[in-house]
């Protein structure tokens, strides 16, 4: 009897979110000469998170452009490029450093199609690494999705899985509307079973997906909080709760249909996100769910969110970020006694 290792016929079928995003950019650059990447350090360095690694070498400095350090200038330049028929993909280095570009985003990117009665669409993708949990010092951990989701004319999407990293980014770049593409930094190095052999775009943008089907209550979440919610759902089994988990993927447009169906099927819902709760995306979701599912609800829709504080220093961030216990505490408050 031999004890030889099993033959390794299959290449490893796991990948990180970062590598899937890189692959999406590479495929987009390869398939469409109109696609141009621009941002700070995206060329030679491959971006501070290495998402554009190797792209300047493969496609040239013009297709993956190291720009001066000026976010409004980057996005404003991208607007002009899009006006001339290019399909710019802009990288903002960090969430809190995208704010200088806010005026271009809100006053021009989001409105140009509308302003010109459809004549001048701006197919721009703005990639923004966002969120905390990476031990970042001040200004490196913001969750800025509510600012963008509040702006008509923008699509706001955020992947939580490796496959969605690829699929949503391809869909974003292919979209004729501007897309704010929020990349959960703390998931950059998370691994999933995913093969780069036959990756597929997620179409259309705007569909949520049920990641876990349960019967007791529904967790509604997105981006960096998805793995936390899935973990909470596992832990909840010990308490006798069987939780559904919905990954929203797209904050704008919002998939009312999938969300309402998932909430009706359990009659209880908790919205989970790490950005501050006040006037956050969770408030909107809770309102929408209440408006659509009131008669199916056994309890008020609750929110588990970051506190209403400036993002804390890294040594305290674990107290700010919604964790499994806080989620289970919220589930426990869903009026089970009735």
């Amino acid at each position: 009897m031999t004890t030889a290792a099993p033959p390794r016929t299959q290449p490893p079928r796991t990948a990180t979110l970062a590598s899937a995003l890189n692959r999406a950019l590479r495929d987009a650059l390869r398939e469409d000469p109109a696609v141009h990447i621009l941002g700070e350090d995206v060329g030679t360095l491959g971006g501070v998170f290495r998402i554009t690694d190797g792209l300047a070498a493969e496609f040239g400095a013009d297709r993956c452009l190291d720009t001066p350090l000026a976010e409004a200038g980057i996005l404003g330049t991208a607007v002009g490029m899009a006006m001339y028929g290019l399909r710019p993909v802009v990288e903002m280095q960090f969430d809190a450093f995208a704010y200088p570009a806010f005026e271009q985003l809100v006053s021009h990117v989001a409105r140009m199609r509308n302003r010109t009665a459809g004549r001048m669409p701006l197919p721009i993708t703005v990639r923004i690494p966002y969120g905390g949990g990476i031990g970042g010092v001040e200004h490196h951990s913001d969750s800025s999705e509510a600012y963008y989701a509040h702006t008509p004319g923008l699509h706001v999407v955020t992947p939580a899985t490796v496959a969605d990293g690829y699929g949503l980014l391809r869909a974003a770049i292919a979209s004729d509307d501007p897309v704010v593409f929020l990349e959960p930094k703390r998931l950059y190095w998370s691994k999933d079973d995913w093969s780069a052999e036959a990756p597929a775009p997620v179409e259309p943008i705007g569909r949520a997906v049920v990641r876990r089907q349960g019967t007791s209550a529904t967790l509604l979440t997105y981006g960096p909080s998805l793995p936390v919610c899935l973990e909470a759902a596992e832990a909840a089994r010990a308490e006798g709760w069987d939780l559904s988990v919905v990954d929203l993927r797209s904050l704008a447009p919002f998939d009312d249909e999938t969300v309402a169906a998932a909430v009706r099927s359990t009659g209880r819902a908790v919205v989970v996100h790490e950005s501050s709760g006040f006037a956050g995306v969770g408030a909107e979701i809770a309102a929408r769910v209440t408006e659509r599912c009131f008669h199916h609800l056994a309890a008020p829709v609750l929110r588990v969110a970051g506190f209403d504080i400036p993002y804390p220093p890294p040594m305290l961030e674990q107290h700010h970020l919604p964790g499994v216990d806080r989620i289970l505490d919220a589930v426990a408050k869903l009026q089970w006694e009735q």
């Binding site: 001066p68 409004a72 330049t77 006006m83 004549r119």
Partner: protein
């Protein structure tokens, strides 16, 4: 001895620290370029096509002044929601149009409607933003004119991006961005100039320095020697021109456009001019500037200057003046007629073009408005 002279200079690495360029060729002339009333006018008239050019500039000026007058009148009649007049700045406005070729792109701001009209866009379509019936009434691709931009200087980086894209595609398109003197204080102006320099984008920036940003005079806006000097810090060429001299603005802008087109880099042109009217019809200019100051500039009216000098040079005569006036009256007539008709607006168009496809939420909201409108119509009918 400065630090640079000493140890730093020895350690200078061109790859890391960049080239060190002589700023002298980038500096603007010490006095604004002027053609009217100088021997250069004769040379221009005698150059090939010179007389036609001068007559065309004169004609555009006459029509431009009438456009400003008519739009101001329409505001008084309540037919425009607001009108920021370019009265006094017509030389800049029309020279922008005459310096650009078809295919080049213009990036105007709210005060630049005359430049847009002079480029060939229909006056009613140009004024829709200010009339209040749509944000942009014209198709930007028809005449290569971006929508009028209201957030100050935000259109400047667009011009850079478009010019950059054109260069990447190997096309000879030039983009021209218009910014006011106040707008030069905005970050987007700085970022646009910096990007333009670094990308060597074929773009021209024209700053119409009309003295005021609403009420704030230039002295409170900038401590730069001139606004044209701002170019030097970005490694691009600065030019200074008399903004009330249509011939000078045309020539300087044409040179700048060709400079950019031939890959020699972007240019920043400062045209020194004056806003003869208030900021808009809603403004009271008497609160921040004297009547004497306005009178001094009225004496330098770009239209009177042009007419006087071209007549003296024998380039135009009574017939040219009469022909230009007739064309101007025709435009004014047309504006009066067209603006007399109330625009027919479809409330349901509110939901069009927010996205390529309306979102489910917008479909719901559109249905709500449709129901409201139907109910209103039914009530109307019962009356």
């Amino acid at each position: 001895m400065t630090v640079l002279d000493h140890d730093l200079a020895a350690a200078w690495t061109p790859d890391a620290h960049g080239p060190r360029r002589d700023p002298a060729p980038l500096l603007p002339d010490s006095e604004p370029v002027r053609i009217l009333g100088t021997p250069a006018l004769r040379r221009t008239a005698d150059s090939p096509g010179g007389r036609e050019l001068l007559r065309d500039l004169h004609r555009r000026l006459v029509v431009g002044r009438r456009f400003n007058q008519q739009a101001t009148t329409l505001t008084k009649q309540g037919r425009l929601a607001v009108y920021p007049a370019s009265t006094g700045q017509e030389a800049c406005q029309i020279a922008v149009a005459s310096a650009l070729r078809p295919g080049d792109w213009l990036f105007p701001s709210y005060r630049d409607t005359l430049a847009v009209v002079s480029r060939g866009v229909d006056p009613v379509q140009t004024l829709t933003l200010l009339r209040g019936n749509a944000h942009c009434g014209y198709d930007p691709y028809e005449h290569q004119v971006a929508p009028l931009s209201t957030p100050l200087a935000t259109q400047a980086p667009h011009a850079v991006g478009l010019a950059h894209a054109a260069r990447l595609r190997g096309e000879s398109t030039v983009a021209l961005a218009l910014v006011g003197d106040g707008g030069t204080s905005e970050g987007d102006f700085h970022e646009a100039l910096n990007f333009a320099g670094v990308l060597n984008a074929p773009v021209v920036f024209l700053v119409q320095n009309n003295g005021y940003a609403i009420s704030v005079p230039l002295a409170k806006q900038s401590a730069a020697p001139t606004l044209a000097h701002k170019a030097v810090g970005y490694g691009i060429q600065g030019r200074l021109v008399d903004g009330n001299d249509a011939v000078a603005v045309h020539i300087v802008l044409s040179e700048a456009v060709e400079h950019a087109r031939t890959g020699r880099g972007p240019v920043l042109v400062e045209a020194v001019t004056y806003r003869l009217e208030a900021h808009t019809n809603a403004d009271d200019a008497g609160r921040y500037r004297s009547a004497e100051e306005v009178e001094r500039w009225q004496a330098r009216d770009p239209l009177t200057l042009m007419e006087r000098h071209l007549r003296e040079a024998g380039v135009i005569g009574d017939a040219d003046v009469a022909a230009a006036a007739a064309e101007a009256e025709e435009l004014a007539d047309r504006m009066r007629t067209l603006f007399h008709v109330k625009p027919q607006l479809d409330p349901m168009s509110l939901f069009a073009h927010v996205y390529a496809e309306p979102t489910p939420q917008l479909r719901e909201q559109a249905a709500q408005l449709a129901a409201e409108l139907a109910a209103e119509a039914a009530t109307e009918e019962r009356r």
